[in-house]
C-alpha cells in the first residue's frame, strides 16, 4: 500500500498482481555448506565429549555418599591425625594442664570399647588421668563420625597408645549408640568409672553446676513467639540446630549472640527477618535467650554439602594461607572452632551454607560487624572455592560441648 496515493501513478515498480512465487534452481552457496560441515563436526565432538563430566560428578557424589554412610573409612591413623591430633597431639601426650594424654592413660588401656563410648558421648566434667586432673570438655563425635570410622579410630588409639590388639567393628559401635541424639555426656571421669566398673584411678567428684531453670517467658519466646516476632525455634529448630542458611545457635557464646542481636537491630548486619524479630526484644530478653542457646548441647545436623575441597578447608582452618594473609580460623575462633566469646563464634558444626553465606556477605560488604574489619578482609582474600572448602570442613566438625559460658575452655587444676 503506498503511503502517498499520488506517487502510485508515477511509480516505476508495479509488480504483477498475478505473479505467484516459485523457487528457481540455484546451487546452495558453498560458504553455507562449509559452515554446515564445520558445525556438524563441532556437534559430533561435543556429543562424544559429554560423558566425561558425568563420570567426574558421579565420583564426587560417591565420596559424599560414603561420607554419610561410612562405607569407605580411612585408616585409623589418618582419622586420628585429622580429628584428634590437634588437641591430643600427634604423639598422644596431650597438653599440660589442659588436655589429657592418651599415651599411658588407664582409660585407653581398657580397650577400644571404652574409647568408642567416650567418642560417642563425650565428657563434661573433671577427669583424672594418672597424676593430673583435667577439667575441660571432650566433644561428642556421635554425629560427625560414622560407626565404621569410630570403630577404626578406637581400635587405632587402643592399639597405638594402649596395649590392646582388639579391633572394634562398625556393628559393635552401632550397638553402643543410645537412642539417637539422646546420649548425654559422661559427667566427668567419675561417671565413666562408675558405669564401666574399671579401675581408672581416683576420679574427682562431679559437682553439677545447675544451669538455672528456663524462665517461662523465655521459653515462650523460644517456642511460641510473640506477635510479629516469630518463635526462635520455628526457624532455628526445636533443638537450635538450624539448617542451610539458618544458623545453628546451640553452643554459640552468649555474648556473641547478644552482640549479633544488637547488630541486627542497628543494621550492622543485614537480615530482614532477624531485624523484625529483634525489634520487640528487650535487652534482658536478649541476654536470657543468648544464655539459653549457649548452654544447649545437641548433636550436629550439619555436614559438607557444597562440594568444597575438605583437605583445603582443613588447611585453612588449622594453618591458614599466609600467601594471602589469611590466618587460620582456629587462631581466633578457638581450638576445634569452639568459639571465644564475645567476638568469635563457634564455627564447628555450623551449616556450610550459612558459613559461606556469611563469608560472602562480608566479602560483599553487606555484613559490617566484624572488629577491625577482620572478617571483611579475610573473606575477600578467600575466593568462592576457598569459602566453600572451609565451610564444608567446619560443618564436618563435632559440635561445641555443653557447659555454662564461664566453664568453657578453662584450665585444669593440679590435684
Amino acid at each position: 500500500m503506498s503511503k502517498d496515493p499520488k506517487r502510485m501513478t508515477n511509480t516505476r515498480h508495479r509488480p504483477d498482481e498475478n505473479f505467484e512465487p516459485y523457487e528457481p534452481h540455484r546451487r546452495i552457496p558453498w560458504p553455507l555448506i562449509a559452515f554446515a560441515g564445520a558445525l556438524g563436526l563441532w556437534g559430533a565432538a561435543t556429543l562424544l565429549d559429554s560423558r566425561q563430566d558425568v563420570a567426574a560428578e558421579q565420583a564426587e557424589r560417591l565420596v559424599a555418599d560414603n561420607l554419610k554412610t561410612g562405607q569407605n573409612s580411612e585408616p585409623g591413623s589418618t582419622l586420628f591425625a585429622a580429628r584428634c591430633a590437634t588437641c591430643h597431639q600427634p604423639d598422644g601426650m596431650g597438653v599440660r594442664a589442659a588436655i589429657p594424654p592418651l599415651s599411658g592413660s588407664p582409660f585407653v588401656a581398657q580397650g577400644p570399647e571404652l574409647i568408642a563410648k567416650i567418642l560417642l558421648r563425650g565428657i563434661d566434667g573433671p577427669i583424672r588421668v594418672n597424676n593430673h586432673v583435667f577439667d575441660g570438655h571432650m566433644p561428642s563425635f556421635a554425629s560427625t563420625l560414622t560407626d565404621s570410622e569410630i570403630g577404626e579410630l578406637a581400635s587405632h588409639v587402643a592399639r597405638h597408645f594402649g596395649e590392646s590388639s582388639q579391633t572394634l567393628s562398625a556393628t559393635e559401635v552401632a550397638s553402643l549408640r543410645g537412642p539417637a541424639g539422646e546420649d548425654s555426656s559422661f559427667k566427668g571421669g567419675a561417671e565413666i568409672a562408675a558405669t564401666s566398673g574399671f579401675s581408672l584411678g581416683d576420679q574427682p567428684a562431679f559437682v553439677s553446676v545447675s544451669a538455672g531453670s528456663l524462665a517461662p517467658e523465655i521459653s515462650s519466646l523460644v517456642f511460641s513467639g510473640r506477635g510479629e516476632q516469630w518463635a526462635c525455634a520455628s526457624c532455628h529448630g526445636d533443638l537450635g540446630q538450624g539448617k542451610e542458611t539458618t544458623p545453628r545457635l546451640a553452643g554459640l557464646p552468649a555474648d556473641y549472640i547478644v552482640k549479633q542481636l544488637d547488630d541486627f537491630a542497628q543494621g550492622r548486619r543485614l537480615n530482614e527477618s532477624m531485624r523484625m524479630v529483634v525489634n520487640t526484644l528487650s535487652d534482658s530478653e536478649k541476654r536470657k535467650l543468648a544464655e539459653y542457646y549457649a548452654d544447649l548441647r545437641v548433636p550436629s545436623n550439619a555436614r559438607p554439602e557444597l562440594g568444597g575441597n575438605l583437605a583445603r578447608g582443613e588447611e585453612l582452618a588449622l594453618r591458614g594461607d599466609w600467601s594471602r594473609n589469611v590466618p587460620s580460623c582456629f587462631s581466633c575462633h578457638g581450638p576445634s572452632g569452639f568459639g571465644v566469646a564475645p567476638e568469635f563464634p563457634a564455627l564447628a558444626a555450623q551449616h556450610a551454607a550459612y558459613t559461606t553465606n556469611q563469608l560472602s556477605a562480608w566479602a560483599g560488604g553487606h555484613r559490617k560487624n566484624s572488629s577491625l574489619a577482620l572478617m571483611e578482609r579475610i573473606s575477600s582474600e578467600l575466593g568462592d572455592a576457598d569459602r566453600r572448602a572451609v565451610a564444608d570442613y567446619l560443618a564436618s566438625l563435632p559440635p561445641v560441648p555443653a557447659g555454662t559460658s564461664e566453664k568453657t575452655a578453662s584450665i585444669g587444676d593440679q590435684p
Partner: protein, 205 residues
Amino acid sequence: MNRYLPLSILALAILAFATLLLVIAPGIQISRHAAPPGLKPYTEQELRGRDVYVSLGCVYCHSQQPRSPDQAPDGVRGWGRPAIAADYTYDAPHQLGTMRTGPDLLNVGARLPSRDWHLAHLYQPRAIFDWSIMPSYPFLFQRKDSAGPEDVAVSMPAAFAPESGVIVAKQDALDLVAYLLSLDRTYPAPANALRDDGYSQPVEP
C-alpha cells in the same frame, strides 16, 4: 518437493525420532531410579497446598531446581544441593520453573521452616522485605474481629496491620504453607543420580 504423502511421513518420522530422544529415552532412564529414601510422599494437606501453589502460578517467578556449585552459587544462597531427577518422583505437575524473579524454593522448607513466617510473608511480602516485588495474597486470609480458638492469627507490623481486629489464615493459606514446609530435599543424593553434570569441574585446591 512434489509428493505430499512422503513429505508428511518424513516430517512425522523426524518428530517421532526427536520424541524418542527427548522424551522416551530420558523417561525410561528416569523411571529406573526409585525415590531416594529421604523423600517422602506428600501428605493430603501438602497436596492440597501444592494445588494452591499451582493454581496461583507461583512457578512463574520461583524455580525449584538448584544448580551445581560448579555452575552457580545456588547452594551458598541456602537453596540446597543440586537437584536430581528422583527428587521429583511425587511431583505432578512438575514445578521446576524457568524464572527466578524470586528465589529457588526446592528447599525452602529446610531454610525457612517457620509456618508463621510464611503466613506473614504471603499476606504481605513487603512487611518483611521492603525491596520485594512478590504479589501479596490477601485473599488467602480474612480479617476477623478476634481470633477464634482454632484460628491461626498472623501478626503484622503496624504499617500493614488492619485498623482493627486480626488477620486470620484461611485453609488455603495453611495448606499452601504446609506444602512449602514440605519442600526439603537436603537428604544426600545417591552417586548414580541423574542430573545435568555438564558443568563439572575438577576439585582443585
